[in-house]
Amino acid sequence: MIRCPKCGKMNQDSSRFCNECGATLPQTRIRCPKCGTMNPIGNVLCMVCNTRLLPLDMKLPEKPRPSEGMSGGVKGISLPSLSAKEGTPEPTTLPDWMLGLTPESAGGPESAAADLPDWLTDMLEETTEISGEEARDVEEPLAPQELPDWFSALTEEAPVSPETPAVEESLPDWLADMTENVPDRSQTPPVMTEPPAWTAAAPPAETFPSSWNQAEAPAFVPEANADLPDWLRSIADAPTLEEPQSPAGLPAWLLANADAPVPVEEPAAPELPAWLLQGAEEIPHLAPESVKPTAPSSLSFAQEPVREAEQDWLSGILPEESAPVSPAEAEPDWLSGIPFEEPEAAPEPAPPTEAVPDWLSGILIEEPEAAPEPTPPTEAVPDWLSGILIEEPEAAPEPTPPTEAVPDWLSGILIEEPEAAPEPTPPTEAVPDWLSGILIEEPEAAPEPTSPMEAMPDWLSGVVVDETKSAAVISEAPPVAEEMPDWLQGLTEQAVSPLTEAAGIPSSPVITEAPDWLAGLEEQEKERPAPGAPVPLSAGEPSEPESAMPGWLKDIVPPAESVSGIGAKAIVVEEESEVEAVEAALFGEAEVPEGPPIIEEAMPDWLKDLTPTEMPQSPVVEEIAPETLARAEVPAWLQGLRPPGTGPLPSLPEVGAAAPEVPGAEGQLARAEIPEWVQALRPAAAAEHAAESPLFPDLVETEGPLAGIVGVLPAAPGVDMPVDFEPVPLPEIPEFVVAHAQRWQQLLEQPRGIKRPVAQQRARSGEGEMATRWIVALVLLAVTILGLLFLGDMHLSQALSKPPIEHLSTAIQALEPGEPVVVAVEYGPAEAGEMTPIAEALVEHLQSRGVHITLVSTLPEGTGLAQGLFVTSDVSVQALYLPGSSSGIAVFLNDDLKDARLLVVLTSRTERLRWWMEQNNASHPNAPIPMGVGVSAAVGPQALPYLETPVVTGWLVGLPDAVAYREFRNARDISLNRQLDVLLLTHWAALGLLFFGLFYYLARGKKGAV
C-alpha cells in the first residue's frame, strides 16, 4: 500500500495516482526489464536475476518518505535544529567546514547545487527536507499517542508490546533488512523499562532533569550491570563517579562549546566560537570561497525555550570555570541539545518526553529497527547515539569482543553495516545532519578494532582519525584497545571528514574548544607545523590540558604515540594536500612522548580501564593503499549511482603488464573487475600452458578471446557429429544425369544476346503433298457419292448379329410396360451423326415396350439431343441435366434411380461411360442396375473392358451394330443400310490409300516424301 503524501489515503501498490485526490504517488516498485520482477524502489539490481534496474547515469530515485501519520514520528536522526520560524543562525556563527556541509550555503540550494555534482545535490536536497521535518518535529513535541511503542517503552514503566509497531511498516526496505539483521534483538525480551545502563552511573537526580529523576525514571535493574562492559560497570560502581554531575566532569572542549552562542538568541558573529573564528582567520586558504557561511539546516538547532532548560542542565555539569557563562551563550548549538531538559524549564513537558529530552526523542525515533524489539544492548544504548552510529564495521558481522565491550547504550551504534544495507539509502536519513557529512560511511575494514582508538568512544575517535584511515589503523592496532567504545572511534574518525570536506577549519573545534588532551596535542602542533598547512590552526590558542579536559576524558585521550601514529598515518595516506594540512594541524607529525598522559590523575577509574596498556606501533604508512581506502568509502551501490563525470573511474591496469606503481589495493580492484576465470582464458597466458589437443593438434584459435590457444575444439565437427556417425559417401551420379545437368546449366548460362533456336515454321506443302491431299479427298468423295447415288438396293455389307446386340435386345424386350428405364444421352452435336442411329434404335425399342423413359445427361447439349430423339414420336420427354459430372451421377443413382430396371448409356466419350459404370457399381455394389450401352466406333475399343463386365447386359458399337440391332429386331432402315454400304466402300478406299502411301514410301524412300 502506498500512502498518498497529499491526503494520506492508502492506495494499492503500483498505483501511480491517488485514488482520493489524484496526487502523484511515489513509485514503490521497479519492474525488472529482464525478468519482469517488481523490485523495491531502492533496488539497484534485480533481486531475482541481478539485472541492473537503474542506468548508470541515473540518479538514485528518492525513497518515499514515511509520512508523519504513518510513521508516528519516524524522523531522521539529528540533533535539534532550528525551526523555520526561528530562522537559521547567522552564517558567521557556523564554522566554514559546517557551512560546507549545508545545501543552503552560498545563498541557497540553487547556488550550492550549481557547485556540486548532481548526486551530491540530490543528497543535500534530501537532507534539507529531512531536516525541515526534524525541525518541525522538535517544535511540536510528540504526543504520547504519536510516539512509537518502542519509544514509549523508554518513558513508561509498562512493558513494551512486542508487536512490531506500525512504524516498521513504513520503513524502507533497507531499514527493515537492517532491523532483521540485528542479532538477537527479536529474541530478547523487551526490557526497555530499564534505564540505560549508563544512566545508572550518570548524574544524580539533583543535577538531572526531573525526567531523569529516580522517581520518574524507570527503575534500574541491577542485573543490567551484568551486560555492561567493564569500563561501564566501573562507572556504575564507582562511588566517586560524578562526571555528569560535576561541572568539572564535563570536558573542557564541551564546556567551551557550550559557550557557543545560540544563533537565535544571540546570532551575532561574535558568538562564533573562538576556535572557529581562529580557524577561519588563520587558515583562510582552507576555507573555500564557494562555501558561504550559511547555517545548514542539519546544523541548526532548535532554540525553543526548552533549550534553555537544557542548557541549565548543562550548566550544572559545566566546569566551574565555565559555569558562570550563560549556557545559551557559551554552548554551541549542536551541544545545546546534549543536556537534558529540565521539567521546570520546559514549558510543556510532555509525559513521554520527560524521561527523554526532546532532542533525544528526535534521534530515538529515527532508529526504528531497534525500537520494536528492544534488546539489552539497545537498552543500554543512549537513544541519542543509538541512531547515530547505526553503521557497523563491515568486517565485524559477529559481536566481536570490542563490540561486546562496548556499552549497551553504544551497541546501537554498530548496527548498520555498509554491505548489509541493501538499499542505497543515503545515510543522512538516519544520521543527524551535522553528522551526515561525517558518518556517510563507516570504514569497511575494521575486522578487529584492536587499536587504542577502539577504546575511545566513537564520537571521539572520529574526531581524531580520519575515516579513510581509521580502518587500516584499527585493523593494525593491537587488541588492547578493544575496550575503547566504538562511539568514540566513530567520532574520532568522523571528525576529520567534515574538516577535510570543508577544507577549512577542521581542527578548530578540537583545538580551540578542545579538551586538554587535545590542547596538549595542539601545543605539539605548534612546534611542528603540518605540511600543507602553513598556519597552525590553534597556534594562538594555548590551552590548559588538565584544566580544560575532564578527567574522564583525559583517560580517553589516546596516548601521544597513538595519536601521533594515527595522525601520521592519516597524513601520509591522505592524498589531498588539504587533508594533510588539516590533519597535520590537528595532530602534528611529531610523536607524542610516550608515557602516561599528564592528566592521568584526573582520569576516573572507568576511564582508566580504557587506557591502553601498550602503545601500538605506528603501522607502516606505505602499506595502506589510499585508493583502496578511498574506494572503500563509497559503497558499491553508491558507486553504481555515481553519475558520469563526478569522479574518475579506476583505470584498469594493463593485463600482463608489470605491477602497477599504485598501491596494490588499486591494482587488486582493477584486476578484480575481470574474473580470474576470464583471465585464465586469455590467450597469452593460456597458450603457454595449453596442451595440444590429441584430436585437433593443429587447430589454433585465431579469433576471439581464445585466440592463440592451441587445440581448441572446433565447434561444428566436434559438437554436431554424433559418436556413431559414419560418413556415407555421396552416391555416384550417372553420366547421363551429369550430361543432362550440364546441358541445362549451359542453357541457363547462355547469354540472352545469343539467338536461341526456335521451332522452324513448317515447310509449306509442296505440290506432291497437295496432290496427295487432293487424291485422298477425291477418292473418298467419289466413293461416297458413287455409293450413295448408285448403289441403290445393292447391299454390299451385312450386319452381323453379335451376342452383345442380342443380349441387349433381349433385355429391352424383357421389360414390362411402365417400368422405369433411364436413358443417358452423353454425346454432343459433333457425334450426333454417328450416335443418333444407335440412340434411335434403342429408344424405338424401348418405346415399343411401353416403359417409362427418363432422359438424363451430364452434358448441357445432351438434353437437347435427347429431346430430338422423341421429336417424331408422340411422346414428349423432358430431359434432365445432371450437373457435377460423376457426383451428379452418384446423386441421381442414389436418389432417383433406385428402382430403375434398365440403364441405357449412349455416349461417344469414354469417361462418360466410365462415370456411369463406376457410380452404378458404387451406388449399388450388391445389385447394380443392368446397363445397356451404345457407344461410337471410336469409343468401342477403349470401352470394351467395361462392356465385358457383368453389369452390362449388351452394347452397340457404331453404325454397324445399330444396323445389326435393327435387323435383329426386324426393324430394318434402308437409309442406314446404304450408309453402311457407303461406309464399307470408304473403308476400302481408305485402305487403298494407306497401301498406296505405303508403296509410295517404299518406292521413293524418305526423300520421296515432301
Binding site: P829, A830, E831, G864, P883, Q919, S936, P941, G958, H987
Partner: protein, 227 residues
C-alpha cells in the same frame, strides 16, 4: 411449302454448306474452315451457357420457389448460395472484388472434396476391381485352346503394358535392363495395338460421320429435286 418445311429446308442447306466447308480441310487450312470451326465452338458454348442458365435460373429457381416446406427451400437455396460464392472466383484479378474471391474457395473446396471422394470410390469399385476381375476371368478353359490363349494374351498384354510405364525397369544409368527391355517392348506392342484399334475406331467414326453427312446432303438435294 409451309414454314416448318422452309425452316427445315434452310436448315438442310446451311448444314450442307457448313459440312462442305469442314470437309474442305482435306485440301488445306483456309479461312472458311476456321470460320465454320469457330462457329461450331461458339454455338456449342452458347448452347451450353443457355442450357445452364435455363436449368439453374429457371428450372432450379422455379423449383425452389414452388417448394412448400422450408427444408426443401433450403435444399434448393444452398446450391444456389454455393454457386453464387463460386462466381467470386472470377474476380480474383480485380483489386476490390479480388479479396472477395476467397469466398469462392468454399464451394471450390466442396466440389473438389466431394468430386475426389466420388471419383476414388468409383474408380475402385467401378474400374479397378472390375478390370482385374475381367482380366482374371479371361483365363478360362472354356474355349480351349483359343480362350486360354486369349486370356494369356490379355494377361501378358496388361502386365507388359503396365511395365512400360514403370521406372523400375531402368538401372541407375538410365539404361533399361535387357530382360525388362523385351518386356517393355512386348508391352509397347500391346499399347500400339490398342492405340491402333482406337485409331481405327476413330477413323471408322470419322468415316461414319463423313458418310452420314453426305447422305444427309444428298437427302436435301434429292428433296429439292424430287420435291
Amino acid at each position: 411449302m409451309g414454314n416448318p418445311e422452309i425452316l427445315e429446308l434452310i436448315g438442310l442447306i446451311v448444314g450442307a454448306v457448313l459440312t462442305l466447308i469442314i470437309f474442305s480441310y482435306l485440301l488445306g487450312d483456309h479461312i472458311l474452315y476456321r470460320w465454320v470451326l469457330a462457329l461450331l465452338v461458339g454455338c456449342g458454348a452458347g448452347y451450353v451457357m443457355g442450357m445452364a442458365l435455363r436449368f439453374l435460373w429457371w428450372d432450379w429457381l422455379e423449383q425452389a420457389r414452388a417448394a412448400e416446406s422450408p427444408l426443401l427451400k433450403i435444399y434448393y437455396f444452398i446450391p444456389l448460395l454455393l454457386g453464387i460464392l463460386l462466381l467470386f472466383k472470377g474476380f480474383s484479378s480485380l483489386k476490390i472484388l479480388g479479396r472477395l474471391s476467397a469466398l469462392g474457395n468454399i464451394p471450390m473446396a466442396y466440389l473438389i472434396g466431394t468430386g475426389a471422394a466420388v471419383t476414388i470410390a468409383g474408380a475402385l469399385l467401378g474400374t479397378l476391381f472390375p478390370q482385374i476381375a475381367a482380366t482374371g476371368k479371361a483365363m478360362t478353359l472354356r474355349d480351349f485352346p483359343w480362350g486360354l490363349l486369349r486370356g494369356i494374351a490379355m494377361l501378358i498384354g496388361t502386365i507388359s503394358a503396365l511395365l512400360v510405364f514403370s521406372a523400375r525397369t531402368k538401372d541407375r544409368d538410365g539404361d533399361v535392363k535387357p530382360v525388362m527391355l523385351w518386356v517393355r517392348r512386348f508391352g509397347e506392342f500391346f499399347i500400339i495395338v490398342a492405340l491402333a484399334a482406337a485409331f481405327a475406331g476413330a477413323i471408322t467414326s470419322g468415316l461414319t460421320l463423313w458418310v452420314e453427312r453426305w447422305a444427309e446432303l444428298f437427302k436435301t438435294v434429292f428433296y429439292f429435286i424430287r420435291g
